[in-house]
C-alpha cells in the first residue's frame, strides 16, 4: 500500500495522467496550489463589492402565551424551592450536596453565606425585603481568578481555596466569594453589576425542559428527535441575552446539519422568549441571538413590513404599525358596512408645567427603520370584553415603550381600540408613565376618519337643546360648561341620510379608571391629493403648547366651509399625571414580588366612543 504525505498523492496521480517528468509537475502543481492558497486564505478580504443583505427570521412568544410551562414538574419544584429560600433568614437558594462533586465545595458554600459582605445585597435596603439569590457555581480557585482587586487577599491561597458564584435576580448582578475551607475564612468578595455567571445544572435542566417542551420549538423541529446542544448556553460573567428585561436568560441551541435553532429561555420567569435560526459552518464574526433582536425582528417583519387583516364577529379591518404614527387601523367595517377609513395616533405631546417650554413630542412606531422614539413591543393583542360574564365585544391593543421604561424620563404608551357587538367602537390611548416628573401633561394627537360618506359628511354639536350644525372648520375644548346629550354625546358625524356616529367623549364613564379627557376636538376637511395627516407624518406641532395649538390647527386655518365635504376628526385629550401615593395616575413604579422586580402601573386612558346613528 502506497502512502502519500500531504498533496503527494494527488500530485503523483496527475503526473501519471500526463506522463510528465516528475520535477516539472511538482513545480507546476506546487505553484498552482500556493497561488490559490495565497489568494483565498488571507485573513483580510475584499469587501467592497459584497452585497450586505439581511433577513429577519426571529420568532417571539408574546407575553400572553408565555404561560405554557406552568405544569412542568421540574419548574414547579424549582419555584417551590425559590419561595422557600425567600422565607429563610439568609434568602439564598443553595446547591444541595447531591449537586456538588466534593464535600469541600459544600463547606465553602456554608462558610461564604455567613459572610456579611457576601450577603450584602440579598435583601432590599428599604424594608429589608428578601431578594431572590441563587448559588450558581462552586469550584477551586484558578490562576485566572486572581485579579488586581483580590490579588493581595488571594496571595496565600492554597489548594483549599474555592470560588463561589451567586446571582442576584433583583439587581441582575453577580457576587463572587473566595473561601479558604481549611482556614474557614472568606478571603475576598467581589461584586459585578449587570453580569450573569454560568448557571448551575439545575437551571440548565430547566432551560432544556422549557425549550424542548415549547410548542414553538416543536413546530420548528417537527419530527426531529435531537438533543439540544448547550455549548453556547452562556459564558462566564457576561451580560444577559435579555438586554431589555435584565432577566437571567440563556440560549440552548438545537443543531441540525448546517443550521442551529436558538431558543432564548428566560430563567427569571421560567418561560421561552423566542427562537431564531442561524447558519453554521461559516467562520467569521460571532452570531448572537438575544431578546431585543427577537422582539425587534418579529414586530418589524410581521406588523411593520406588511398590512394584516383581522375579522372577528361582525367586525373586520386592516392594520399596520407605521414609522411614526403608531398602529393604524384602516377600512373598518361592521356587518360589512364601512364605518371608518382610518384611525391612528400621530404624536404624544408631553409638557411639564414647572419647566417652561420643557417637554417632548414622542412619535410612536416601528422598532426598526422608523422615526419613532417610543417603539412597538410585541404585536397587537386581542382580548374579549366582558360585562356581567357575557362577551360584549373585543379590544385590540398595541403596546409602545422606550426600552429603559419605567426608569425616569422613559415612556410607555398604548393604543387601544374597542369593538362592541352592538356596533359601537372606541378609539382610545393610554399613558403608563413614568416620564420626567409629576408635573406632566400628556396630549395624544389622534386622527379619526369616519366613513359616513364619500363627500357629504356633516358634523353637529349638542348645544344643550338641539344639534347645531358646524358650517366651517373649527376646534372645540371639552370643559365644565360643555353640554352633552342625556346619553353623553357631544358630536354627531353623519351623511345626508342621517346615518353615521355620535361621538361620546370620555368623562370617566367607561370603567377604565379614567378621570376624563378634557379634550380638544378639531374638524378638518379631508382634501384629496393633499397630505394633511393621511400619510405618515414626520412631526405634529410643538410638545409644549398648552392651548389649542397642538398641530391639527394647521389644517383648519383659514377655516373652510364644510358643505359637501369628507371630514376628519382630530381628538387631543389632556391627561395630567400624578405620582402621589394613593393617587397615582399616568404612572409606573417598581416593586418587589417574589424577590424580583415587578412593575406596577396606573395607566390613564382617554378616547371617545362612537355610537352608531341609524345603523
Amino acid at each position: 500500500m502506497v502512502k502519500f504525505k500531504n498533496n503527494e498523492g494527488v500530485t503523483y496521480l496527475i503526473m501519471a495522467f500526463f506522463r510528465l517528468p516528475n520535477k516539472y509537475f511538482h513545480a507546476l502543481f506546487s505553484l498552482i496550489m500556493v497561488m490559490f492558497f495565497l489568494s483565498s486564505c488571507s485573513s483580510e478580504h475584499n469587501g467592497s463589492n459584497e452585497e450586505n443583505t439581511y433577513e429577519y427570521t426571529g420568532k417571539l412568544i408574546t407575553n400572553n402565551d408565555r404561560k405554557e410551562h406552568v405544569n412542568l414538574a421540574i419548574i414547579n419544584d424549582y419555584i417551590f424551592a425559590v419561595k422557600q429560600s425567600l422565607k429563610k433568614p439568609i434568602p439564598i437558594l443553595r446547591l444541595g450536596k447531591q449537586e456538588l462533586t466534593h464535600q469541600d465545595e459544600y463547606r465553602a458554600q456554608k462558610i461564604v453565606i455567613q459572610n456579611k459582605d457576601f450577603t450584602k445585597y440579598t435583601r432590599h435596603p428599604q424594608g429589608n425585603k428578601p431578594l431572590r439569590n441563587e448559588i450558581m457555581t462552586i469550584r477551586k480557585v484558578l490562576a485566572a481568578d486572581v485579579s488586581l482587586n483580590n490579588k493581595k487577599r488571594l496571595s496565600k491561597c492554597g489548594k483549599s481555596c474555592y470560588r463561589v458564584e451567586m446571582y442576584n435576580y433583583f439587581y441582575n448582578m453577580s457576587t463572587v466569594g473566595f473561601v479558604d475551607v481549611k482556614l474557614q475564612q472568606v478571603l475576598a468578595v467581589n461584586y459585578y453589576s449587570d453580569a450573569q455567571p454560568d448557571i448551575n445544572n439545575r437551571l440548565k435542566n430547566i432551560a432544556i425542559a422549557i425549550a424542548k417542551n415549547s410548542k414553538l420549538v416543536k413546530q420548528e423541529l417537527l419530527e426531529v428527535t435531537q438533543k439540544p446542544t448547550m455549548s453556547q448556553i452562556k459564558t462566564s460573567l457576561k451580560n444577559s441575552r435579555c438586554e431589555r428585561s435584565y432577566h437571567l436568560c440563556v440560549a440552548p441551541t438545537f443543531v441540525l446539519n448546517d443550521k442551529a435553532l436558538w431558543a432564548i429561555v428566560d430563567l427569571t420567569d421560567s418561560t421561552l422568549v423566542g427562537i431564531r435560526w442561524t447558519n453554521l459552518g461559516e467562520s467569521g464574526p460571532p452570531i448572537d441571538v438575544t431578546e431585543r433582536q427577537l422582539e425587534n425582528e418579529y414586530v418589524f417583519r410581521e406588523f411593520c413590513e406588511k398590512s394584516n387583516h383581522l375579522q372577528k364577529g361582525n367586525w373586520q379591518f386592516d392594520y399596520q404599525i407605521t414609522a411614526s404614527d403608531g398602529i393604524e387601523v384602516t377600512q373598518l367595517k361592521y356587518k360589512n358596512i364601512p364605518v371608518m377609513k382610518s384611525a391612528k395616533l400621530l404624536d404624544w405631546h408631553v409638557n411639564y408645567s414647572t419647566r417652561e417650554g420643557f417637554g417632548y413630542s414622542d412619535a410612536i412606531g416601528c422598532p426598526l427603520f422608523s422615526s419613532a422614539v417610543v417603539i412597538a413591543y410585541e404585536g397587537p393583542q386581542v382580548e374579549e370584553i366582558k360585562q356581567d360574564g357575557k362577551t360584549i365585544g373585543f379590544s385590540f391593543t398595541q403596546d409602545f415603550r422606550q426600552p429603559p421604561w419605567p426608569t425616569p424620563c422613559n415612556y410607555r404608551y398604548e393604543q387601544r381600540f374597542e369593538f362592541y357587538n352592538d356596533g359601537r367602537f372606541r378609539v382610545a390611548a393610554a399613558d403608563y408613565g413614568r416620564g420626567c416628573g409629576t408635573d406632566g401633561t400628556y396630549r395624544p394627537i389622534i386622527r379619526i376618519d369616519i366613513d359616513a360618506d364619500k363627500d357629504h359628511e356633516s358634523i353637529s354639536q349638542w348645544n344643550g337643546e338641539q344639534w347645531k350644525l358646524w358650517t366651517e372648520e373649527k376646534w372645540h375644548l371639552q370643559s365644565k360648561n360643555t353640554k352633552y346629550t342625556r346619553e353623553g354625546y357631544l358630536f354627531k358625524i353623519t351623511n345626508e341620510k342621517g346615518n353615521g356616529f355620535y361621538v361620546e367623549p370620555n368623562r370617566g364613564q367607561f370603567n377604565d379608571g379614567s378621570k376624563g379627557d378634557n379634550a380638544f376636538s378639531y374638524i378638518s376637511i379631508n382634501h384629496p391629493g393633499r397630505d394633511e395627516g393621511s400619510n405618515d407624518m414626520v412631526t405634529m406641532g410643538s410638545c409644549c403648547n398648552t392651548d389649542f395649538r397642538q398641530g391639527p390647527e394647521q389644517f383648519i386655518n383659514p377655516p373652510e366651509s364644510l358643505q359637501n365635504k369628507n371630514l376628519v376628526l382630530w381628538y387631543v385629550p389632556q391627561l395630567k399625571n400624578n405620582g402621589t401615593k394613593g393617587e397615582e395616575y399616568c404612572w409606573a413604579d417598581t416593586r418587589i414580588k417574589n424577590g424580583i422586580k415587578k412593575v406596577k402601573v396606573w395607566p390613564c386612558y382617554a378616547g371617545p366612543m362612537f355610537v352608531p346613528v341609524g345603523l
Binding site: 500526463f18 507546476l28 495565497l38 457576561k238 464574526p285 427603520f369 422615526s371 419613532a372
Partner: protein, 317 residues
Amino acid sequence: MIKVFVLGFLILSLFVGGYLLTIQNKNITNDTHLATSFKLGVVNSCRKTPSFIHTLSMKQPAIDTKQQNHQGGLVIRDMSNNRIWQDESWTKSGYLAGFDRDNKGNMYVAPLPYVSLSLNPPELQNQIYKIDSSTAKMQLYLKMPSEEKPNNKNPFGTMGLFYDCDTNSLYVSSLAGSLPRKENGVIYQINLSTNTVVSQFNTIDAIGIGVFNTLKGKRLYYGLARKPHVYSILLDENGNFTQSKRFEFSLTRLQGGDTTVAKKIQFSKKANKFHMTVKETEFGFRLLAENNPEKKKYHFIYSIIDDKWSYVEYSYE
C-alpha cells in the same frame, strides 16, 4: 481530448491564481511599503482647539454634544461651573451625532435626528457643517454626494466623523438610504484642502469611525450599525480606502459586553501605550432619545508585537 482540457484548466488556474495574488499584493502594499513619513500611532494629535473658545473666558471649556439638559446641538460647557455657551448659528444643525476638529481649529459636525424630526428634517441629514475656528459661525460644509436620501423610515445621514492629520482628511460615515434588508451606507474620505470627496467605501452601514497607524499600515476602524462588531479597513498612504478589510472584535464577546453598536472610536497615547476607547449605543435605525444611563465605554491597548488590540476593561459613560 480530456488531457488537453485538464491541462488547459491547470494553465488557466495558474493565470487566475497569479492575477488574484497580484491584486492582493497591490492591496496590502502598505504592509511592507509604508510612506517614509509614516509614524506608528495616533493620527489626530495635530488638531487644534478652536480660537473662539479662548475668548469665552472659561476655566475648563469642553465641547459638548450630549443631548441632555439642553435643547440639543453643540455647546461649549465650562466644566468648572457647568455654564454653557452656544453661538446662535449652531441651532441650524439640530441635534448632533459625531464631531471633530482639524489642524486649524475648525470644527465639523454631523446632524442627528434625536427626539423628533422637527429640528432634524430628513432632507438635511446627509451633510456636515463646519464651524469656523475664529468666528464660531456654523455653515453648511458639504452635502454627501449620494443619490440615497434619508426619509421617515431611515432618517439618518452622516453619523461619525474622524480627522487624520497625516493626509488632512476628514472621514465621514453615512447611513443615508440604507434599507431594512440591504446596506447602502458609505464611509467617505474628504480632502480638507480641496473640500472634495476623494475616496469612498460603499455598501457599509457604519457609525463610529477612527483612524490609527498600526505597525502594518494605516487602518480605519469602524463599528457596524446593525451588529456589535468592529471591523477595520486598510488605507493607502494617501488615506484612500483599499479593498482589504478585517474583523477586529465584537462588543458582545467582551467581558461585560453588550449587543450594542460602536458609536464612537477614539485613540490616545498614555504612558507610552496606545489606547482605543469604543463608546456604545443601542441602534435600530430609529430615533435615539432613550435615557439609559448604563451606556459603556470599552477600553483596549495596542500590542505592537501582535499588531492587535487587547481588551482591558469597560467603564460607564
